[in-house]
């Protein structure tokens, strides 16, 4: 047992750090570190910069153009990127549909789709949930009916993150209506420009437009866009969910947010003294810091199991639950730290270029919106209650 990183891993960390110092643009960095709205262009620019460095696929094997980094290096990379304020890489291509295409797609699909994910040319979104199929995903009703060399897709998907920017959507669709719910689902890749696809924004509680409904009305999808076998989509979806959860603890970004919280607390006053010295606040802050420390070790334990070729298992549910709770706790403390100035809500002030007259400290402007926004973390990716079901059933055998 050894918790220290090897000299090679430390050298790798230095290499990543140097790259970030030299190549991560200051404007992108600022949006993240100050909690401002990062435009979609930031995400694309960052993916392209990484691609030029040969790092476009940090979690991908070399045979598909990835870096071939082991889980520990991927972790170090994510941690350094988060600390430096790099935009979050889009998970939909890199961590979701990409691995599914690698594992279950055919050679033509791999050649067609994978390089464009790495280069940032294609923006993917995820079409899973439906109005009547949330946690109970297998009850989805969007249908794909085979008609010659294409499927005709009809239905409605919802909670589609950043679909307004997307070139492609990967969807779970029902292809067999007689089979039991899980057995009649297929995994389909759909070009967002296809006639009959409509994107409608859903404005969220923080005033932001991050989420959409996507409607399909007689959308013709070529059969070559089916991944794997018809009616086997549920298997692929479960594979994908495992991958999604393995990276969901968000240790790196929570460490960065903890530092932001400390900066804010040091600058705020209570009884005329720094809030950081207030024993009540200090105790709450320390509790989150300690919980995060424990989760980091737990995450490293899961990684080291993964490095020994054991696939991400149900312990990923623990990472998801604890990781999301910590994200929310940090946002809550930041908002609390600024007192009344958490309440003024000027959406313009959340954009990088805001020139208006500030009210309150600049660090206060985005905090309430972030607090509201992060309520999603315990709901998405399999709600925390679903994750507890998974722990109860798959780990505890109840």
């Amino acid at each position: 047992m050894d918790l220290s990183f090897t000299p090679e891993e430390q050298a790798f960390r230095e290499e990543v750090r140097r790259f970030l110092e030299q190549r991560l643009p200051a404007s992108l960095r600022r949006h993240v570190l100050e909690g401002l709205h990062a435009p979609a262009a930031d995400t694309v620019e960052w993916q392209r910069l990484l691609h030029r460095q040969g790092w476009g696929g940090p979690s991908w094997p070399t045979e598909h153009g990835g870096t071939g980094w082991d889980p520990v290096r991927q972790y170090i990379f994510e941690e350094e990127c988060a600390a430096a304020g790099a935009p979050r890489l889009l998970p939909f291509g890199l961590k979701m549909v990409g691995p599914v295409i690698m594992r279950f797609g055919n050679e033509a699909q791999r050649r067609r789709f994978l390089p464009r994910i790495l280069s940032g040319e294609d923006w993917w979104c995820q079409g899973y949930s439906e109005p009547e199929a949330g946690s109970d995903l297998a009850s989805l009703r969007t249908r794909a009916d085979r008609q010659g060399d294409h499927y005709l897709v009809n239905g409605q998907k919802t909670w589609i993150t950043l679909a307004q920017h997307a070139d492609w959507i990967f969807c779970l669709v029902r292809t067999d209506h007689a089979a039991r719910p899980q057995a009649g689902i297929s995994f389909l890749l759909i070009d967002m420009k296809t006639p009959g696809v409509t994107v409608r924004p859903i404005v969220m509680l923080d005033g932001g437009h991050e989420i959409n409904e996507v409607w399909f009305e007689d959308v013709a999808v070529p059969v070559e866009n089916l991944v794997g076998e018809e009616n086997k989509g549920w298997t692929y979806a479960k594979f994908l969910l495992g991958h999604e959860r393995a990276n969901i603890a968000g240790i790196g970004s929570s460490k960065r947010e903890l530092e932001r919280l400390k900066r804010i607390a040091a600058a705020e006053l209570k009884h005329g003294r720094s809030l950081a010295e207030d024993p009540f606040f200090a105790a709450r802050l320390a509790q989150v810091e300690i919980d995060l420390m424990a989760l980091e070790i737990t995450n490293l334990r899961v990684l080291s199991a993964e490095a020994e070729q054991r696939t991400p298992g149900p312990e990923a549910s623990l990472l998801k639950i604890k990781g999301s709770e910590i994200q929310q706790a940090l946002a809550e403390l930041m908002m609390q730290a600024v007192g009344p100035y958490a309440l003024p809500f000027r959406v313009e002030a959340l954009d990088g270029g805001f020139q208006g007259e500030p009210v309150g400290p600049a660090h206060a402007a985005p905090l309430a919106a972030t607090y509201c926004n992060l309520r999603k973390t315990t709901i998405y990716g399999g709600s925390n209650e679903i994750q507890k079901n998974i722990i109860a059933q798959l780990i505890l055998g109840l």
């Binding site: 050894d2 105790a283 420390m293 424990a294 070790i297 737990t298 080291s304 209650e385 507890k388 079901n389």
Partner: protein
């Protein structure tokens, strides 16, 4: 970065687990608890044979220190079995203190005998007004005759009744809460002026208040330099915190296992109560709490003897906070989910509950360590 054990470590863990599973079952333990001494010399002898009493003893004195991982594995197994022998008191805290403070002659006189199970050496440090503060010592030692004279009272000295030798801290100079001026003395419990007020503790282990009235000691009863024992006490206590975290993980896992097993077999409303989601989610929360505690126990074992004092203190305190909170939560919920059976003396769960409660309150409780974490983070 890896969490693998060496072949030898795995073999050691297997041996300890097998030994305790065979000889330290619930009924055997119960018999030991009810014996006059409240612990078993036979078991102690076997722990010595297995080499476990020498894990904090350096090789030149017959032990195998440093052995951070081995200590962790041993304590985890002992926690699972709810071992009541004075392992933490003597084989961890006592050995560490003698090793850090003793002169070569004192070390040679004590450590081999401790490793072989022939002597039990227990620190007597805490006092009534000190709570968990290691530097607050009111017991006084003054020079007298050819040596020292001690007076004062030591509070809740765990396993003092088992001790062949007490390591008593006393102030040789300074005010009651000065960092400097604390010394440690080897005090045979039978010395004139030493009186033990023995009692069982809530978790079944034994303890005593130690009253010292004008206790005369020879000059060589002093361990280490006069007035400079605090560093060694802190180091021993930190090692103890890591050991306690490991023990807690053993108790926690056993308690969780007993709870899942109980809910699978207990039938109400026509089926096992484990099918109810309210209970399932509670046990999922318990599991997360146990796993976070396990992670921190690993971290604690890694930093327990670190030379970077600030990091050592920060991380050990963080570990004790996570473990202490897990002790409370898992212990309470295990009793709750066992229903009426949980509040009887008949099942292991209530015994585990009480040990978890004692662990939380020992070597600095959660609040103490949260405060130390904050102080050391500044």
């Amino acid at each position: 970065m890896h969490f693998n054990l060496t072949e030898e470590q795995r073999a050691l863990a297997d041996t300890v687990q097998r030994f305790l599973a065979q000889q330290y079952g619930f009924e055997a333990r119960r018999k030991i608890l009810r014996s006059p001494e409240g612990w078993s010399r036979e078991i102690w002898g076997k722990l010595a044979e297995l080499g476990l009493l020498g894990l904090q003893v350096p090789p030149e004195h017959g032990g195998m220190a440093p052995a951070a991982i081995e200590t962790m594995l041993t304590l985890e197994a002992m926690g699972r079995a709810l071992l009541v022998e004075p392992y933490l008191a003597s084989a961890v805290l006592g050995s560490a203190l003698v090793g850090a403070l003793g002169s070569p002659a004192q070390r040679e006189a004590l450590l081999p005998a401790m490793a072989e199970g022939r002597r039990i050496v227990v620190p007597a440090h805490g006092e009534a007004g000190a709570r968990h503060d290691l530097s607050r010592v009111a017991t006084v030692a003054r020079r007298g005759g050819a040596g020292w004279v001690l007076s004062g009272r030591k509070a809740v000295v765990v396993h003092a009744p088992a001790a062949d030798l007490l390591l008593v801290s006393a102030r040789t100079s300074g005010a009651v809460d000065d960092q400097q001026g604390i010394s440690v003395f080897a005090v045979p419990p039978g010395s004139p002026g030493v009186r033990l007020i023995p009692y069982p503790l809530i978790d079944g282990q034994r303890g005593a208040d130690v009253v010292l009235t004008e206790v005369s000691l020879p000059a060589d009863a002093l361990l280490g330099a006069e007035g400079a024992a605090l560093t060694a006490l802190e180091a021993a206590w930190d090692l103890g915190v890591a050991a306690l975290c490991a023990e807690a993980v053993g108790v926690l896992q056993a308690t969780l296992d007993a709870t899942t097993e109980y809910t699978r077999t207990r039938k109400q409303f026509g089926g096992p109560i484990a099918r109810f989601q309210a209970l399932q989610h509670r046990m999922a929360d318990m599991l997360m709490s146990v796993e976070q505690a396990r992670s921190m126990s690993y971290l604690a074992a890694m930093v327990a003897t670190s030379d970077d004092l600030r990091e050592r203190r920060r991380k050990l305190s963080a570990a004790k906070v996570v473990v202490g909170q897990a002790c409370r939560f898992v212990g309470q919920q295990a009793v709750q989910l066992h229903g009426g059976m949980g509040v009887t003396d008949e099942l292991a769960v209530s015994h585990g509950f009480k040990r978890l409660m004692a662990i939380e309150a020992s070597l600095g409780d959660t609040e103490h360590h949260l405060e130390r974490f904050i102080t050391e983070s500044r």
